[in-house]
């Protein structure tokens, strides 16, 4: 297969497969946070801040995959 086609395929696979894990992870985080807020609405502020922190860590993994996809496609 020629180089340009390989590059497109590689970029698509990189971000496509790389987003599966973080997607599931953020879903789990979000659902547990909602549950916790439901059980204890007074602690919403604290739960929210910690949830945002956790989501940032997991989203970083998807961003690593995106950076590789962009490097493969454009550089």
């Amino acid at each position: 297969m020629e180089l340009a086609a390989m590059r497109n395929l590689a970029a698509a696979l990189a971000i496509g497969l790389g987003a599966i894990g973080p997607g599931i992870g953020i879903g789990i985080l979000g659902s547990k946070a909602m549950e916790a807020i439901g059980r204890n609405p007074e602690a919403t502020g604290q739960i929210q801040s910690n949830m945002i922190l956790g989501i940032a860590f997991t989203e970083a993994i998807a961003i690593y995959a995106l950076v590789i996809a962009l490097i493969v496609k454009f550089v």
């Binding site: 020629e2 604290q46 945002i52 922190l53 940032a56 970083a60 961003i63 690593y64 962009l70 490097i71």
Partner: protein, 331 residues
């Protein structure tokens, strides 16, 4: 009395927007596809040192922050004890920044507790710097107005199978969408300004500063005993097996510090650079219309990434400054 939604003025505005689409399509005003470059392009040289467009924009961000801070604190009375209530009442820009600083201070206090006076200056600086750097990439003109340059020729291995980029034909200072035939007569745009966080150098520098300050605050909080975290021989007191595990965990801690540098820099870089590319691609997909929700997304992402950088740095500071006293009870 309710205003009618579909009065003449609304209809005229809608008609003007539709006419804008039709006319610009007819006139053949086509913009050439932009060139995405991961590394920042150099603008000029001072001595032997290259000034890139993102470095230039970083200076502008710094000057902007300093000027806005001076403007916001102009009216504050120097002697707080003897000032009248009227003088102390904030208004305008000062009021806005008091809100921002109070919110940040409350957030910092909730996480750092009694360490807040030491941590707050650098934490708030990181937040404001990253926020301004992220949002300045959204101003129209940043990334699009620049200097026309020839693309460089592709030689050797790279030329096999890759389509060579020959640039576009330029009419004076305006670039058209027509691809050029040879590299010498084709041009592409090298922007004057570019969001600083879309340059890996800027984010890597910030990440290194954050991790270095974590070690600094660790030493400040625990003395030189902080570095025993990376060379933990206390497990040997309970037997050789636990000693080896202790050493292993210490090596993992060291690797984790390096991983923090990479994680910080790539998180910020990836989010902002991918946002830039996304805006470019969307603008060429459906012109005018679809850029609007993505601009909203980029504003949100810029704010969240600044917040996350600040929160993570703060959490690591707090962990480092108050750690080690509770560390030995874990095993």
């Amino acid at each position: 009395m309710k205003k009618k939604l579909f009065n003449v003025r609304t209809l005229l505005i809608l008609l003007a927007i539709v006419a804008l689409f039709v006319v610009s399509g007819r006139l053949g005003l086509k913009v050439p596809a932009p060139v995405v470059s991961i590394k920042a392009d150099p603008l000029f040289h001072i001595g032997g040192f290259t000034i890139t467009n993102s470095l230039f924009t970083t200076w502008i961000v710094m000057i902007l922050l300093v000027v806005v801070s001076l403007l916001a604190t102009r009216r504050m009375p120097k002697d707080v004890q003897s000032a009248s209530t009227n003088d102390l009442l904030p208004s305008g820009l000062q009021n806005l920044f008091e809100f921002v600083i109070e919110a940040l201070h409350g957030l910092t206090k909730g996480i750092a507790g009694h360490w807040t006076p030491k941590f707050f200056p650098i934490i708030a600086t990181i937040f404001l710097l990253v926020l301004t750097a992220n949002w300045i990439g959204l101003i129209p003109g940043v990334g699009t107005i620049g200097i026309l340059e020839h693309p460089h020729e592709v030689h050797g291995e790279e030329a096999k199978g890759a389509v060579e980029f020959t640039g576009f034909v330029a009419n004076g200072a305006i670039l058209t969408a027509e691809p050029a035939k040879h590299v010498e007569e084709g041009y592409f745009v090298v922007p004057f300004f570019r969001s600083p966080s879309a340059d890996l150098n800027f984010t890597l520098a910030l990440a290194l500063i954050s991790v270095f300050m974590v070690q600094y605050f660790g030493v400040k909080g625990n003395g030189a005993a902080y570095f025993k975290k990376f060379f933990d021989t206390s497990g040997f007191k309970r037997g050789a097996f636990w000693g080896v595990i202790g050493i292993f965990v210490s090596i993992l801690e060291l690797i984790s510090e390096i991983a923090k540098v990479i994680s910080f820099s790539f998180r910020l870089f990836g989010n902002v650079f991918a946002g830039e590319v996304l805006l470019l691609v969307m603008a060429f997909l459906i012109p005018y219309l679809i850029s609007i929700p993505f601009y909203g997304l980029e504003l949100f992402v810029g704010f969240i990434q600044a917040l996350v950088f600040m929160l993570l740095t703060l959490v690591f500071f707090t962990l480092a400054a108050s750690s080690h006293h509770g560390g030995e009870e874990h095993h």
